[in-house]
Symmetry: C2
Subunit: 356 residues, 2 copies
C-alpha cells in the first residue's frame, strides 16, 4: 500500500482556515485518482507556544520526521511579537527548516493572467513574467553565531554569515537542475564585490556551471537584482541566491506579480521530502472571518504532488481547477476588483473541489 | 575669504563626462551668486588603479581630507571586475567612506513629473512618491571581519556583521532629524526576527524615538519593506536602515521612481563635510559617446549646496533650471520617449547653465 503520510501544521492566523480548504482538495484527489493520504495535525508556531510553551514541540518535529511531506499554513501574529526569541513563532520556522534539513526554498513567482491588473507594475512590463527564486535556507547569517558583547562604544551585536562549499554546491546544483527543466537561464545573485561568502559562492557557481553547458548563466549583484526585477521581470527564469538575499528578493518578486495571495512555495532537502506552504503570511487582521484566499495553499498541495510524490496528473487537475474557477470570475476579497462580489474561503475551496 | 574647496573625482566610465557638466554649473553659480569655489581633481577608482596601482591613492585621500566637499562621478567597469580585491574600484569606494568617516548615505528617491511614464510602476501607484533612504555606510557586514577557513565540509567563507550602539544611534538620530524637516514619518528597517544586530538596532531606534515624539515611527522587516516599496511607495517618507539592507532597498527605491538617471546622493559624516555623487553607475557601455545624462550629477551639486554649504539660493536655482529644461521637453537618450530627438551630455549641461 502506498499511503502517503502528510503532516499538517495549520499554524496561526488564517493558517488553519486555508489549510482546511487544501485538505478538501486532498480528499477530492483521493476520490478522483485513487491516491491515498494519511494526514495528521501538529501544533506549530504561536499556537504551539500557547499550548506547549514552545513554537516547535518535539512531537510536532517527530510527526514531520515520520511524514512524507509537510503542509504548513502560516505562523506568527502580534500576540507573540514581543516574546523572547525562544518563544517566537519564527524561531519554530527556523528550527523546523534546520531540523528537517530543508536547505532549499523554491518560490515560483508567476503572474496569473486574470490578476495582471492586481500588480502595481504596468501590464506590459509584467507580460510573460514566470520566474522561480531558489533560496538557500539553512545557512548564512540566519544560522551563524550571534551574540552581544561590550565594546569600546558600548554594547555591540554580532551576526556571523558562514557558507561552506558543500552548502553552496547542493543549492546551486539544484537551481541548475530546475533551470534545465525550464528556460535554461540562471541568474546567480551575490554581493561578490563586498562579501567573502559571496566570492566563495561565485567560485562554486562558476565551477558547477561547467556541468551545465546548456544553461545560460549570469551573475547579478544583489542591489542590481533588486532593480532588474523591477525593470525586466520577464527576463528572469531561475534565480539562485543565499538565505538573506533570497528572503528579500523572493518577497520583492512575489509582490511584483500582484499575485501574492496565489503563490505557493516548497522547502526541500536531499530526498523527495518537502515542506509546502503559501508565500503569504498569517494575516492576523483577517483571521477567523472566513474571507482569506485559500488558493496559494491549494496550489501548495499541487506543488507537493509534483515535487514530492510525482503525482503530476493530480497536480495538473488542481491547477486546472483553480484556473477554471478564476476564469469563471470567482474571487476572494484580496483579489477582487469588485469587493462586493467577493466570495469567502470555504466557497472558494468548494468551487475548486467541484471544478476538479 | 570664504572659498570652498571641492575635491573632484571623475572616476570611470561616464563619470568624467557627467562631472564635467556639473562643473559648468558650479562655475555659473559663482557668476550668479558670488560664491567662490576652488576645485581640484583627483584620481579614483579604476583610473587610479591604472595610473597609480591602487583605487584610492594616498594623495586623493589627502585631497579629499583637505576639501570642504567631494564631488564624485562613478567608478568601476568590466576592465577591473576580475582584479583581486585590493585592485578593484569598489575597494576604493569602501575605503574612502571609511577613511572620511562617511557613516550616512542619503538617497532621495522622488519622481520627476515629466518622467512618471519612465517607471515600470503604474503612474497612480507612483503618484506622490517622495522618499529618502538613509543608509548606514561604514558598519555592518561590509566592514566586519571576513576570511576563509577549512571546515568539515571543505573550504568555508565567513563575513561578520557588527554594530555597536554608537554607530546605530548616530545614523538613527540623523534619520529622525531629516524626518522632522519633512513628513515626520520614519520607517526603520531591520530583520529583528532573525538577526542580533537588528534586535540591537531596534532597541536603539525605540530609545532615540523618545526624543522625537512628533515623528510617526514604524518598524518594518526588510523582506516586507521590499514588498511595501512596490505596493505603497508614496506612503514612505524617510527610511533608515543598516548598510547591506540599505544597499538593496535604496536601489529598489531608486528604480521604482523611473528616474534613476536623475537621482543624486550624499554621504555624510559628523560635520558638514560630504561626498556627493549620482545614484547611477559608471555605465561603461555608453562611456565616451557623449550621450550620458548629467542631471543626477548636476543635482548632486545642488544637494552639496544644501547640505554642506547651506547655499539654498543657488541650490534652488539649479533645481529650477533642471525643471525648466525638462519641462521644455529636452531629454537625453536614457529618459527620452522619442530617442531620435535625444540630446547629448554637453547640450543638456549647456541648456541647464543657460536656464540658470
Ligand atoms: C519569519 C521569517 C523568519 C522568515 C524568514 O526570514 O526566512 C520569513 O520571512 C520567510 O521568508 O519565510
Ligand atoms: C560598489 C559597491 C561596493 C557599493 C555598495 O555596495 O555600497 C554600491 O553598490 C553603492 O551602493 O554605492
Amino acid at each position: 500500500t502506498d499511503v502517503k503520510k502528510i503532516a499538517v501544521l495549520g499554524g496561526d492566523g488564517i493558517g488553519p482556515e486555508v489549510v482546511g480548504e487544501a485538505l478538501k482538495v486532498l480528499k477530492k484527489t483521493e476520490e478522483l485518482f485513487g491516491y491515498q493520504f494519511e494526514t495528521e495535525h501538529g501544533l506549530f508556531g504561536g499556537i504551539a507556544i500557547d499550548e506547549k510553551g514552545t513554537p516547535l514541540p518535539q512531537e510536532t518535529l517527530e510527526l514531520c520526521q515520520s511524514a512524507d511531506a509537510v503542509l504548513l499554513g502560516a505562523v506568527g501574529g502580534p500576540k507573540w511579537d514581543n516574546n523572547s526569541k525562544e518563544l517566537r513563532p519564527e524561531t519554530g520556522l527556523l528550527g523546523i527548516r534546520k531540523a528537517l534539513g530543508l536547505f532549499s526554498n523554491i518560490r515560483p513567482a508567476n503572474v496569473f493572467d486574470c490578476l495582471k491588473e492586481a500588480s502595481t507594475l504596468k501590464p506590459e512590463v509584467l507580460e510573460g513574467t514566470d520566474l522561480i527564486v531558489v533560496r538557500e535556507l539553512t545557512g548564512g547569517i540566519y544560522f551563524g553565531e550571534k551574540f552581544r558583547r561590550e565594546g569600546e562604544n558600548g554594547q555591540e551585536a554580532v551576526d556571523t554569515c558562514v557558507y561552506n562549499v558543500v552548502e553552496i554546491e547542493r543549492i546551486v546544483r539544484q537551481a541548475f537542475d530546475i533551470a534545465m527543466t525550464r528556460g535554461k537561464r540562471l541568474a546567480s545573485v551575490d554581493k561578490a564585490n563586498v562579501l567573502e561568502t559571496s566570492r566563495l559562492w561565485r567560485e562554486v557557481v562558476i565551477r558547477v556551471a561547467e556541468e551545465y553547458p546548456e544553461v545560460e548563466l549570469e551573475h547579478v549583484l544583489v542591489d542590481n537584482c533588486a532593480m532588474q526585477l523591477l525593470r525586466r521581470p520577464s527576463s528572469f527564469d531561475v534565480i539562485v541566491t543565499e538565505n538573506m538575499f533570497g528572503d528579500i528578493l523572493s518577497d520583492e518578486a512575489a509582490m511584483l506579480t500582484g499575485s501574492i495571495g496565489m503563490l505557493s512555495s516548497a522547502s526541500l532537502g536531499e530526498g523527495s521530502f518537502g515542506l509546502y506552504e503559501p508565500v503569504h503570511g498569517s494575516a492576523p487582521d483577517i483571521a477567523g472571518q472566513g474571507i482569506s484566499n485559500p488558493i496559494a495553499t491549494i496550489l501548495s498541495v499541487a506543488l507537493m504532488f509534483r515535487l514530492t510524490f510525482g503525482y503530476h496528473d493530480a497536480a495538473q487537475a488542481i491547477e486546472d481547477a483553480v484556473k477554471e474557477v478564476l476564469d469563471a470570475g470567482h474571487r476572494t476579497g484580496d483579489i477582487a476588483t469588485d469587493k462586493s462580489k467577493a466570495i469567502g474561503t470555504t466557497a472558494m475551496g468548494d468551487l475548486i473541489v467541484a471544478a476538479m
